[in-house]
């Protein structure tokens, strides 16, 4: 029993199976930010994959919308300890973008408008595990939540689901991104509670 602040619990944390260790469920959709919210128009939006050899593959908004679309309903887990169940998204699975991309790289750096970056293994983006999401709960994704389009990788902590995504860079080495370079875990599996560098 702590001798300080008796009766303080933080937000309620439950033991439901769907809740990774150390998380609490919320009905809200909290907005965390590390900078001003970029305003990105779909008129000028592009998404670019750059391979380890420098080859680029780009899609405009219209080209992205012409790719096969998927609906997904998933739980998301933020490293700041909130989890939100059954979030409904619509977007394009990363597999569709990678169909014609030749690569031997193992890792990806995600680049966003505003300068944010995050890193993850390429295999975590494929096989229906990740999307470029442009619609949330039936509405165009708002700028605060990463609109017009964000990466969605729900099996990792939500900082990996980069807002305002503009491209992917394929790399041979795992290069730490915005939060990974200041102490956050390079992989970030919520079920193994990989929050920080040493976890």
């Amino acid at each position: 029993m702590s001798s300080f602040s008796p009766g303080f619990r933080g937000r309620a944390r439950s033991l439901a199976d769907r809740l990774p260790p150390g998380q609490y469920p919320t009905e809200q959709f909290p907005v965390l930010s590390a900078g001003p919210t970029p305003r990105v128009s779909t008129d000028t939006w592009t998404f670019t994959i750059t391979t380890e050899t420098g080859e680029t593959h780009s899609w405009t908004w219209a080209e992205m919308m012409a790719l096969p679309q998927q609906e997904t309903v998933t739980d998301i887990h933020c490293v700041t300890r909130w989890s939100k169940f059954d979030t409904p998204w619509r977007g394009v699975p990363l597999d569709a973008f990678f169909e014609d991309v030749e690569t031997a790289a193992d890792f990806v750096t995600v680049d966003s408008h505003g300068g944010y970056t995050t890193n993850l293994p390429l295999e975590d983006l494929l096989d229906g595990q990740a999307w470029i999401a442009h619609t949330y709960d039936g509405y165009p994704l708002s700028p605060e939540h990463g609109g017009p389009a964000r990466l969605l990788v729900p099996h990792l902590y939500f900082w990996k689901s980069a807002k305002w995504v503009r491209g992917l860079r394929l790399t041979h080495e795992d290069e730490p991104g915005f939060w990974e370079s200041v102490g956050y875990h390079t992989y970030g599996d919520p079920w193994r509670e990989q929050r920080n560098w040493g976890d």
Binding site: M1, S2, S3, F4, S5, P6, G7, F8, R9, G10, R11, Q28
Partner: protein, 236 residues
């Protein structure tokens, strides 16, 4: 510098508005502080989870007693607990005093302009109280913006003002009977008179929500004040 976390015992709380409280703590070993400084408050749950938030000191140092101002934010993790749940006699941890930038020193003699939005009045109240305690003759001008008359903090103290404190209240949603200004947000006309009474080097302290502080700082710069004299403190 490594400022230690100290035990702080809650001695009492007083309502300022329906949702805002003054909290008095005793902090053994408190080193004293300057008006405008803040503390970090740390809460610890039974499972070791900790939350830290910053709160402004509302009064000058009084031995090992300090006063904080807490606005309860609906859905907040820390402020509703501090405002209404922490039992009297129980302890939290505090770290401070913090910040040497947003500070008024009683040896300063120039006229001072204080601009407060809502609970942003808390660190400015520490300056007003220090000004009074030091019997300073530096003219103090407070412009205090609140939504409604019920949301005025420190109402009695601001009514019973001394000769060198001048207070202007500004209502953005609902005004009291007899108030001649139309309700509305802070505008240039609200600042003109006070700004004209300042000297070139007069310090200006602005504290409130981010949008309020942005507006006030822009208006003051527009009135010709040197941006270097304007010190701001924003809260989310």
């Amino acid at each position: 510098m490594r400022i230690a976390w100290r035990r702080a015992r809650l001695d009492g709380r007083h309502p300022q508005t329906p949702t805002a409280r003054s909290l008095q703590f005793t902090v053994p070993g408190w080193p004293g502080h300057l008006p405008g400084q803040h503390v970090d408050v740390r809460l610890t749950a039974d499972d070791g989870y900790q939350a830290v938030r910053s709160y402004s000191l509302a009064a000058p140092a009084d031995g090992d007693r300090i006063e904080l101002g807490v606005q309860s934010v609906p859905g907040g993790e820390v402020s509703p607990y501090l405002a209404d749940e922490l039992p009297e006699g129980a302890e939290v941890e505090v770290r401070g005093p913090l910040g040497n930038w947003f500070v008024w020193r009683s040896e300063q003699t120039e006229p001072v302009l204080l601009v407060a939005g809502g609970s942003g009045v808390v660190p400015l109240m520490a300056m007003i109280r220090a000004h009074r305690a030091a019997r300073s003759v530096a003219p103090f001008h407070l412009l205090y913006s609140v939504r409604t008359p019920a949301e005025i903090w420190y109402g009695d103290e601001l009514t019973d003002r001394g000769p060198s404190l001048d207070v202007h209240l500004l209502f953005t949603r609902e005004r009291p009977p007899g108030d001649s200004r139309a309700v509305g947000r802070l505008a240039q006309a609200d600042l003109e008179k006070q700004a004209a009474r300042l000297e070139r080097t007069s310090p200006v302290f602005v504290c409130g929500p981010t949008a309020f502080v942005e507006t006030a700082a822009d208006l003051l710069t527009g009135l010709g004040l040197d941006p270097a004299t304007i010190r701001t403190e924003r809260f989310g």
